[in-house]
Structures are given as structure tokens and as C-alpha cells.
């Protein structure tokens, strides 16, 4: 029987010991420009695997590639000299291990504890990742697995540390809420998600995309997968930052290791020198910071009763109607405040156009009357999206611009939008 199992390829479901993470080959798109497209990319065209893909006239990146100004807007890792590639590969392997034995080296014990990056958890996560995720999300979490080209929207590329659906406050809303206790001063950087957010995405799936629900997988396994995803994300971020640091002037596109000389070589840059934190520490700290309670989006009180709630009275219904009307005005920008929603969601998103997002794939503002909410259909999920925007997609944050009550108004409006009878029901009586 063991012979049989071995012949059938059932030797184990983990990665081979000799397998190592490859370096990235796809171009780092620094700025894809804001051009709008009528149609999405064709199956098989995006995500880009290397710069050559852009030379195809049918590729949406073709115009971008042909434009002489675009030279400063992307970095081609294929132009990296062989010795620099070797050095980067060794440094990353030293820090992050191999797919069979992943690790995150050079971080403090409590960061490891909070982000659950213990080697044992990561090894378990890597085994499960190979089982459930690698087909789409790829070996290095680059969102370029074998099926990635053929599903649209394309699978998430973890290597930017950007995740769309999360409950981490990106807006630092101190206008409508008291200052946060113990929070460092705010910065403009995108923040990574909480572990809970990633687990929720795994459990619920992402509606309207190829990401399905994994709620039949035990929660312990999901935890391990999330740890491994964080590992891949940190590794990708560090790789990307290092490549960027090697190219002082993207317009010329020349790689040089000179930048690392004053910092103790590439390893010194990554690991830090004499107590000063390196790139790895910096990236891990941003993840750790996002797990803190003060980074959670602060949600204003919900003062309404759902109109479908049997105990809702006429007054409740009236309050809800007014809220929906306010939300409508904010959405269209014809009230005292404007959310600016129609700038992208033309005709409530029905005529919205495609644009490139931070990952170099194409994205379209949600068609709201369809009632498919990718980040979840709970009212609080929609609140999160409006308050903090959607990282990487171009959806802007409204926290600090709209008050919590106004955000709830927009949420109520967006929830009523897909249902004609509900809209009619909620229309305030004519004056």
C-alpha cells in the first residue's frame, strides 16, 4: 500500500524540500496612470508575468508601454544584474526560508507572537496554502498562479501588503471622534489588515469573484493559512522595497547596489544595523501596528431599526426614510455635503469604467444596484468601505470628511438601492 500511495503521488501534501521562492519577474508598476477603459482585459492577458507581455498590442498596458514617459513609471526586475539577483535571492532565503520551511527572521518575539509567525504555524500554513490557495494566488503570493489569468477579477497579489477588505482605520478620523489612546501620529501610508479581516475573507469568500468561502475548513487551519499569507505578504513587500532601493532613477532603469554601501550592504539594509531597524522590521512593525485596538475603525452608533424588523414602528420607518434620503443627497452631492461618489460610480456604477489599480490589474467601481458587495453585505462592512476606502482600488476614504451619522446615511441608501420595492417603500411622503 505505501508503494501504491507513493506511485500515485500521495507522498505528502507539502512543498518539495528543494523548492525555493523565485525572485519576481513581473514589472513593478509605480504609476499606471488614470486612463479609463470601456472593457476589462481579455482572459489570459493580465496579470503581467514580465515586461514582454506589455508588447502585445492587445494588452491594455500596450499604450502605457509605448509611451516614452512611462519609462519612469515602472521597473523591470529582469534588468537586475546577475550578482545582485544572487545576493537578493540569498538574502530573502536567509530571512524568509523556503516554501517547505517558511520563517520570518529578525523580528522581535512579541511581533512574532501577535502576528502568529512561529515557524511551526508557518509550516502548517504553507502545507494548507499549497492545498487550497496556490492554484490562484501563486507560490510567492503574487496572484499569478496557473488559474490567475483566467479568472477576473484576478486573484489578490499579496506582495504589496495591500488588502482591500479590512477594518483597519486608514483615515485616522480625529474630527468626529476623540483622539486615540496610545496611537502614534498618523501618516499617509496604507495600513495592512487585521488577522480577523483575513479570516473573515476566508470564511465568507468574496462575492462576485472566484474567491470562494472556506468556512468548512477548521478555524485552526484558517489561522495557519492567514499566518502564511502574512509571511508571503511581508516577504513580497521587502522584496519590492529592496528592488526599488536598487533603482535610484526609474527613468534610466539601471540597478546599482551603491545605495546599500552606507547601510552595511543589502543584508544591513534588510536586517538593520547596530540596533537601527532594517526593512524587515519596518514592514513587520506596520503589520503589528495594524493589529492594535486603536487602529480599528471607530464606528458611530447606529440609530435606526431595520425596516424589515417586525418590531419597527412608524417612527422607526420615518427615521430610516429620512436617512436614506440624506444618503441619496450625499451620494449625488446635492446636499450640504458631498461624498463625491458619482465621480467614479457613474449612474450608481452602472456606467462605471475600468481603471488600473495599485496591483496593475483592472478594476471597476462597484455597480451598486446589483447588491453584490465584495467586502461583505453586513451594514458595518459597507461602513468600513466608506470610512476607510478600499486600499489599492482607488476608492477614497471618507472618514473625517463625512460624520459617522452621514456615513450611516450613505450605508442605508446603498443597502436600499438594489431593491425597487424597498426604495419605493422608503421614499418620504411627497410634501
Amino acid at each position: 500500500l505505501p508503494l501504491f500511495a507513493a506511485l500515485a503521488g500521495c507522498g505528502g501534501d507539502g512543498y518539495a524540500e528543494s523548492l525555493t521562492y523565485p525572485l519576481r519577474t513581473d514589472p513593478l508598476i509605480l504609476d499606471a496612470g488614470g486612463k479609463e477603459y470601456q472593457e476589462p482585459d481579455r482572459p489570459g492577458q493580465l496579470p503581467l508575468l514580465n515586461v514582454k507581455d506589455m508588447e502585445d498590442p492587445r494588452n491594455p498596458f500596450f499604450d502605457f508601454f509605448k509611451d516614452p514617459d512611462s519609462k519612469s513609471k515602472y521597473i523591470d526586475p529582469a534588468r537586475m544584474p546577475a550578482e545582485a539577483q544572487q545576493e537578493l535571492r540569498e538574502a530573502l532565503e536567509d530571512l524568509f526560508g523556503t516554501p517547505a520551511h517558511p520563517k520570518v527572521d529578525g523580528i522581535s518575539a512579541d511581533s512574532r507572537e501577535i502576528l502568529q509567525l512561529q515557524q511551526q504555524t508557518l509550516e502548517e500554513g504553507s502545507r494548507l496554502y499549497r492545498l487550497h490557495c496556490v492554484q490562484c494566488h501563486g507560490l510567492t503570493g503574487d496572484g499569478r498562479g496557473p488559474t490567475a489569468k483566467w479568472v477576473n477579477p484576478h486573484p489578490r497579489d499579496y506582495r504589496k501588503g495591500l488588502f482591500k477588505f479590512q477594518s483597519v482605520d486608514q483615515a485616522d478620523d480625529d474630527k468626529f471622534f476623540p483622539p486615540r489612546k496610545g496611537a502614534p501620529p498618523s501618516d499617509d501610508k496604507f495600513r495592512p489588515p487585521r488577522r480577523d479581516d483575513l479570516i473573515r475573507t476566508l470564511q465568507e469568500g468574496v462575492e462576485g469573484t472566484a474567491m470562494q468561502s472556506y468556512n468548512m475548513v477548521p478555524e485552526g487551519d484558517l489561522n495557519a493559512i492567514v499566518s502564511y499569507v502574512i509571511h508571503l505578504s511581508i516577504r513580497g513587500q521587502v522584496e519590492e522595497e529592496t528592488i526599488k532601493a536598487m533603482v535610484p532613477d526609474p527613468a534610466k532603469g539601471e540597478f546599482s547596489l551603491d545605495g546599500f554601501k552606507s547601510r552595511g550592504g543589502m543584508m544591513g539594509y534588510l536586517r538593520g544595523k547596530r540596533g537601527a531597524g532594517g526593512k524587515v522590521r519596518e514592514v513587520v512593525d506596520s503589520w503589528r501596528d495594524a493589529q492594535e485596538d486603536y487602529r480599528k475603525i471607530r464606528v458611530g452608533p447606529y440609530k435606526f431599526k431595520d425596516p424589515t424588523d417586525p418590531s419597527a414602528t412608524k417612527e422607526d420607518l420615518k427615521a430610516f426614510q429620512e436617512s436614506v434620503q440624506n444618503g441619496y443627497d450625499i451620494f449625488l452631492g446635492r446636499g450640504p455635503v458631498s461624498g463625491g461618489c458619482t465621480q467614479c460610480h457613474y449612474d450608481y456604477g452602472r456606467k462605471a469604467l475600468f481603471k488600473f489599480d495599485s496591483w496593475g490589474t483592472m478594476v471597476r467601481p462597484r455597480e451598486l444596484p446589483r447588491g453584490h458587495f465584495r467586502g461583505g453585505r453586513r451594514p458595518v462592512d459597507i461602513y468600513y468601505r466608506i470610512q476607510s476606502g478600499i486600499n489599492g482600488s482607488g476608492m477614497l476614504k471618507q472618514g473625517g470628511l463625512l460624520s459617522p451619522d452621514q456615513i450611516w446615511d450613505v450605508v442605508n441608501f446603498v443597502r436600499a438601492l438594489p431593491y425597487p420595492a424597498m426604495r419605493q417603500h422608503l421614499q418620504p411622503p411627497a410634501e
Binding site: H132, G205, P310, Y419, M422
Partner: protein, 320 residues
């Protein structure tokens, strides 16, 4: 021979062939299964035995030599005297299988239309009992099952007026944001008919529950009603050792299948009470893990308590 006999006779009696039968029509399906198993098993053993016996008897030597009377010959001699012409043999092996097939054809008609025709359920069962079926929308996609439940308010409205039109309208023409959308968990009530409105968003899938003895393909562009009536429940509201109901980290009560789960390991206390829904139509690379679970609540009260908890979760307006 002993092995064959064990497989065809002892195993069905010991319940090894089929998983636990927990739907009202399961016995009809099992009966047909065992009839066909018995007939095919009988002829399988007979022909294999003859094959082996003849091979043994006529191995080697010249054909026609060794026609001396033997034990085997004494068994078949009377038969050979009746079927002594090719015509009679042909007739025998045409008529006997035809009769068997005819029997199977007629025996299954009732079961088939009971199980497969929703109209039969409406006319024969629901009209007489005035019972209201639980309507659940199941839409398959690569690679999950998405279940949509009516809200508690809708459920109460149906109770007042359990007409068929009313209970299916919400699926075809949804007017309010009041349904629950839950992946992979099919919650139903013991001794209550369930009508699953089955659809698919992408390719052909097949809704298959071995325990409920139900299998139905989901075809793109169609909503196909599938019904069954569970007669066993497998769900309990989770309790700790002291008998207090426990809540998850978000503060909601938990319902567990497998008649409860071990609180530390998460393993079911009774693994035979974990009832899967599996996709039975190869639908893509993730086909193997397109698994859902059936939760049969002991009564309507328990089901509604779960429904309310699930609704509260879906209507969350604050942190959890």
C-alpha cells in the same frame, strides 16, 4: 464465494453499503437499491461460479474427451434437457432479463415521481397536510454552495398564508434586503419538508446528499426544485461541561452538527451524524472540496432561534 456472499448478503444487513438514511423517502430508494443489488448479485455469483467451474473442468486435454458423468453434469443435466435447442436458450435469456427489467421499471415509477416531481409534493403532501415547506435557495458556484434563507419576518408571513405562490415569490422577485446569505450550511427542520430551489451561477454542478438520498444536477439558467424531508436531527446548541450555552468570540450562540462537538478538538461526538453535501458533477479543479453540510434542527423553535442569530450576524452594525 464466501466473500461474494458476504458482500451481497451480509453487508447490506449490517448496513455497510449505504450511509445512514435520514430522509422520508430514503427507504424507497434503499429498497430499490437492494432489489437491484440482489438480482445483479445473484446472477453475478452464478455466472462467475460457472465460469470458474467450467474453466476447471475443461482445462487441457482434447475437447469432447472426459465427458464422463460428473457431479457438475448431474446438476446441469435437467437444465440441459429443457434447453436443448438454441431457440429455447435465446428465449430464456431474453425473457428472464426482460421480466426483471420490467419489474424494476414499474417498481421505481412511484419513488421517482415522488422524489423528483415537486408538483407531486404540492398536490399529495402539502395540500393534504396544510404543511408549509421550508423554502431555501441554493446556488452553486465554483466551488461553494450559497444558501439563501427567508428572514424571520418572511417565515412568519408564510405561516399566516402558506400558499405556494407566496412562498416562492421571494426567490424569483426579491424586493427587500431581508434574506440571509450563508455559504455551505444548509439548515433545515426535522420532520418538515424542505424545498431547495437549486440554481448555478457558472457550470453544471450536482447537489448530492448521500444521507438524504438526494442527487440533482444544477443547470445554468434553470431553477430546479428539489425536495426532501429529514426524519432525524443532528444539531444541538453548543453547551459547555456545566450545561451552559456557549457563545463564540463575536457573542453569538453556536449550533453544532454531529450531535455536538468536542469543545477542545472540534471533532464531532457522533461522526455518523455529520451529513455532507458534495458536488457530484466534476465542475473544475476545486470540485473535490465543494462540500457543504446539512444541519437538521430538532424543531421549528430551534431553527428560528438559529435564523435569528444568523440574521443578527448579517445585520451587524458595530464591531465584533
Amino acid at each position: 464465494m464466501a466473500g461474494c456472499a458476504a458482500m451481497f448478503v451480509v453487508a447490506p444487513m449490517a448496513g455497510v453499503w449505504l450511509p445512514m438514511a435520514v430522509s422520508s423517502h430514503a427507504w424507497d430508494i434503499d429498497f430499490l437499491f437492494y432489489v437491484i443489488l440482489g438480482v445483479t448479485g445473484f446472477f453475478f455469483i452464478l455466472t462467475e461460479a460457472l465460469l470458474v467451474a467450467f474453466m476447471y473442468r475443461y482445462t487441457g486435454g482434447d475437447a469432447g474427451v472426459g465427458w464422463a458423468p460428473s457431479v457438475l453434469w448431474s446438476i446441469f443435466k435437467p437444465l440441459a434437457n429443457v434447453f436443448n435447442s438454441a431457440h429455447k436458450v435465446e428465449m430464456a435469456w431474453t425473457v428472464v432479463p426482460s421480466l426483471i427489467l420490467l419489474y424494476v421499471a414499474f417498481a421505481q415509477v412511484d419513488t421517482w415521481q415522488d422524489v423528483k416531481y415537486k408538483s407531486r409534493l404540492d398536490q399529495d403532501v402539502l395540500a393534504k397536510t396544510k404543511e408549509m415547506p421550508l423554502q431555501i435557495e441554493v446556488s452553486a458556484r465554483q466551488f461553494e454552495w450559497r444558501m439563501r434563507y427567508p428572514s424571520v419576518a418572511t417565515w412568519k408571513e408564510w405561516k399566516k398564508d402558506p400558499s405556494r405562490e407566496k412562498s416562492t415569490r421571494w426567490i424569483k422577485n426579491r424586493q427587500f434586503d431581508d434574506v440571509l446569505d450563508i455559504p455551505n450550511e444548509l439548515h433545515v427542520i426535522k420532520n418538515r419538508h424542505v424545498v431547495v430551489q437549486l440554481s448555478t451561477k457558472d457550470v453544471i454542478h450536482s447537489f448530492n446528499s448521500a444521507h438524504m438520498r438526494i442527487k440533482q444536477d444544477a443547470l445554468p439558467g434553470k431553477i430546479i426544485p428539489v425536495w426532501f424531508k429529514p426524519i432525524e436531527s443532528n444539531v444541538i446548541k453548543a453547551k459547555d461541561k456545566d450545561g451552559n450555552f456557549i457563545k463564540d468570540k463575536d457573542g453569538y450562540y453556536i449550533w453544532q452538527d454531529g450531535r455536538g462537538r468536542d469543545l477542545e478538538t472540534g471533532q464531532p461526538l457522533h461522526p455518523e451524524y455529520v451529513w455532507d453535501i458534495a458536488c457530484a458533477e466534476l465542475c473544475g479543479w476545486g470540485h473535490y472540496r465543494m462540500v457543504g453540510k446539512i444541519f437538521v434542527h430538532p424543531d421549528e423553535e430551534d431553527f428560528l432561534a438559529w435564523l435569528e442569530t444568523a440574521a443578527a450576524r448579517e445585520r451587524a452594525v458595530g464591531h465584533q
